[in-house]
Amino acid sequence: MGLVGSEINPPLLAARLRKARSGRTRSSFALDVAIEIPPGITIVFGRSGAGKSTLLDCIAGLLKPDTGRIEIAGEVLLDVDRRIDVPPAKRKIAYVFQSLALFPQMTVEQNVAYGLADMPASERVLRVNSMLEAFRVEQLAKRKADEISGGEQQRVALARSLATSPRVLLLDEPLTALDEGLKKSIMEDLRRWNAAQNIPILYVTHSRAEVDAVGEGVIVLEQGKIISTGRPHEVLDAPRSSALAQASGFDNLFSGVVTELREADGVMRVQLVRGACEIETPLGYAVVGTAVRLAIRAGDILLATERPYGLSARNVIAGRIISLEQRGTMFVAKVAADADGAVVFTVHLTLGAKRALELEVNQPVWLVIKTHSCHVLEDAKIV
């Protein structure tokens, strides 16, 4: 399975793995993937428990897959059939864990020098200093690793694992705990470093926001299988399965039946299974009577306090606010459609919008949804 970019750069990391999951978690699926990762950052996106960390552990050699083959730039690291299994210490793969795993009893400097034991002392000092500079932690060199802040520890962990000149870098949700500004600045340093080294970097995350921020190739993992690959906006903005839709922020998922195709206009009408709501969507591969799933982002729905006229949006649905809840810097409104109270839409509003409209629970409102904000999913068996 080639990713965008693999035509330009030869794939450096190629892996084909299968590993049944045992014990610990309730889910009983097997990790079963084939990937080719070009130099640069590739995101592995999926919900927790989708098999992301298992994938990284297998590549690093910390877990042994049941079957499979891993190679970097043509060198075979694992081939279960041929009984080749290079131990982690000899794979030259850098891996930054979510917990970072800095050695707490050592200084920052000693942590970064840890992987350079075979290097002559003079050269080692130079390498450590250049890594500390590259990740902007040189002023912390003599501090204990457990006495510095989370963002600093993150930088030290990157410097430590990259000091050994690895052939591949694996990152397991490395920035989840950091604020946006720190995240951005660390990513910039990582990119700058990799501009010179040009190694494949696998970046695992379950956060849609991080996918957008990092913004390169993405592999979507669900229940141990790759369900989609490509550029983040291609893959996640037009989800093709309910699982992916939910993972990438589509709060509204409805089952419906196609009632009318208007091929000349490139649209079709879908009646929601519960009740009388009808929604216009882009034309899909469907015939009248086909059962489909619709996904609509909570942020793509407009609210109006009076019935709007003169709009380009084709879907205007009358409803009533049944709950309003502040979540951080936005409001989440649940709106029940008048046609059938069982159909409830989730709508995201800014604090300002909520204030300007003077929204309250029980207030009648109109939902406004553009045709192209309604995504038809594949997994409801479109014939």
Binding site: A60, L62, P87, P88, A89, K90, R91, K92, I93, A94, Y95, F97, S99, A101, F103, P104, Q105, Y114, G115, A117, D118, K144, D146, E147, R160, S161, T164
Partner: protein
């Protein structure tokens, strides 16, 4: 006083030997998984529940002129081990084994596995990982292991009596000396020795536990802060 010095010498020898044997043994038991492991675990823990006389009896037989260890000693050193200081050390090492190995296992098992993974991924051998990561972070466990085996050896009685007998300056340890004096109704002398043993044990334990707690705090505070 000779008896007390002998006891301290014995305890020091035993805890040093146990540290050298206990580390690889605990490492093996903590990080390796194999089918028969539970048997070895049971053997290591046996001295905890066995009456000292039972252990002492079998060690005495083994050390004697017809026992396997006694024979080896005869060949190597032209003398047996029963009723000697060497025999006493051998028996005490067995008797105090769990007091060294259990705290070490607990300490090794409590390590964050990701630290060991990180070390391996940075190219370190198992030995380097042990020396640079496991050992320094297990310091509280190691101190505990040494203190417990030292104190346990210092206070042992049954095994020493069975294996060493009561030879002044060779196998007559403090606890035997006390027993002996009580038997001959020298209560004042018995009391002096008992009091010294009590104070020495208490001082050693409290000093080392105090140090241990400080180290423990320094090491573990960083984890709590994460």
């Amino acid at each position: 006083m000779d008896a007390l010095i002998l006891s301290v010498r014995l305890a020091a020898c035993v805890s040093l030997i146990l540290l050298l044997i206990g580390m690889p043994l605990a490492y093996w038991l903590a990080y390796w998984n194999w089918r028969g492991k539970f048997l070895l675990e049971a053997v290591v823990a046996l001295p905890l529940v066995l009456p000292p006389t039972v252990l002492g009896f079998y060690v005495l037989i083994a050390l004697g002129p017809h026992g396997p260890i006694g024979k080896i000693s005869e060949i190597l050193f032209h003398r047996g081990l029963a009723f000697t200081f060497g025999g006493l050390v051998f028996a005490s090492v067995l008797y105090s084994l769990p007091f060294t190995v259990q705290p070490l296992i607990a300490s090794f098992e409590g390590m964050d596995r990701r630290l060991l993974d990180a070390s391996a991924l940075l190219g370190a051998s198992r030995f380097r990982t042990f020396a640079k990561v496991i050992l320094p972070l297990s310091l509280p466990g190691i101190v505990t292991a040494v203190v417990l085996s030292f104190a346990h050896t210092l206070g042992e009685f049954g095994v020493v009596l069975m294996v060493g007998g009561n030879l002044p300056g060779i196998t007559r340890t403090a606890s035997i000396d006390i027993y002996d004096r009580v038997q001959s109704m020298e209560y004042a002398a018995a009391n002096r020795m008992a009091l010294v043993l009590l104070i020495v044990s208490f001082v050693v334990l409290s000093t080392v536990y105090g140090v241990n707690r400080r180290i423990g705090r320094r090491v573990w505070a960083s984890w709590a802060a994460r």
